[in-house]
Amino acid sequence: MLADLTAIAFNEEGFMTDPSQWTKEIAEVLAKQEGLETLTPEHWKIIDFCRQAGLASGKSPTLRQITTGTGISTKDLFALFPKGPAKKVAKIAGLGKPEGCV
């Protein structure tokens, strides 16, 4: 049973606007929308890190902050979230668009 997204607020680019509405079930639906059928423990390691970092700073972590923070390599990050990990990870983690450049 997939989570219902009707009550969730998104901006015009598809990012959730209220991170407190986020749940793991919602993340799974958002991941499917981004073309990821299943989320593995490696995916969750990244998403959990982004949730923590994002809620602490109010901003989505950049890709470099994700790789240094999780110890997951750049290659693996791009393999786990193919075709644009920056936006994909932020969307699935219910955070805003990453603002940093690195």
């Binding site: 890709l63 470099r64 902050q65 390599s73 750049t74 290659k75 791009f78 193919p82 075709k83 644009g84 990990p85 920056a86 936006k87 994909k88 990453p98 940093g100 450049c101 690195v102």
Partner: protein, 167 residues
């Protein structure tokens, strides 16, 4: 997704420290957004991908009208570093050190590490055949991120449909 096939190619022709970063920063942003990235290094740009040069890139204050003393936190407004001071031995080394320190404080990786990130993220990188022949550079002189040395014509072929940015 409309973005799926978007392609960007950068022609990197400069070997100064400050001119190394534009392609790296924009290329990394493009990869993060799922865009195919190609980098073509030509002329002085080959310094960025040459083992002996990549960690020794510099920025010279001489004749650099953008290099203001206020960048160092001095309240001098539009006053630049006078060229006569710029020629003092060590000034280029100082300016390079200064820029590297500033970049590090912002969490920007050094050029060598940045290139590796782009390579790991799927960017394709090539050297320019004519310059390589002219400078006498060998395959083993390059960082491993360089896939091969190609001609201008190859580059034009492989970037069909790409947005091309010359730096």
């Amino acid at each position: 997704m409309a973005e799926a096939n978007r392609k960007i190619a950068f022609i990197c022709s400069k070997g100064d420290l400050d001119m190394a970063y534009p392609a790296l920063i924009m290329g990394w942003a493009a990869l993060g957004n799922g865009i195919d990235v190609t980098l073509f290094f030509t002329f002085w740009g080959l310094d960025l991908v040459t083992k002996k040069r990549v960690d020794r890139l510099e920025i010279a204050p001489v004749a650099n009208t953008s290099f203001k003393m206020s960048m160092m936190g001095l309240p001098t407004g539009n006053l630049g570093i006078p060229n006569i001071m710029g020629i003092i031995p060590g000034m280029t080394a100082f300016a390079s050190w200064f820029m590297k320190t500033k970049m590090k404080a912002l969490g920007v990786p050094p050029v060598r590490e940045y290139l590796q990130m782009l390579s790991d993220g799927g960017a394709k990188m090539y050297g320019c055949k004519m310059t390589v022949d002219m400078f006498g550079i060998k395959k083993e002189d390059f960082l491993p991120c360089i896939e091969s040395v190609v001609t201008a014509s190859d580059f034009i072929d492989m970037t069909e449909g790409a947005q091309i940015i010359f730096i």
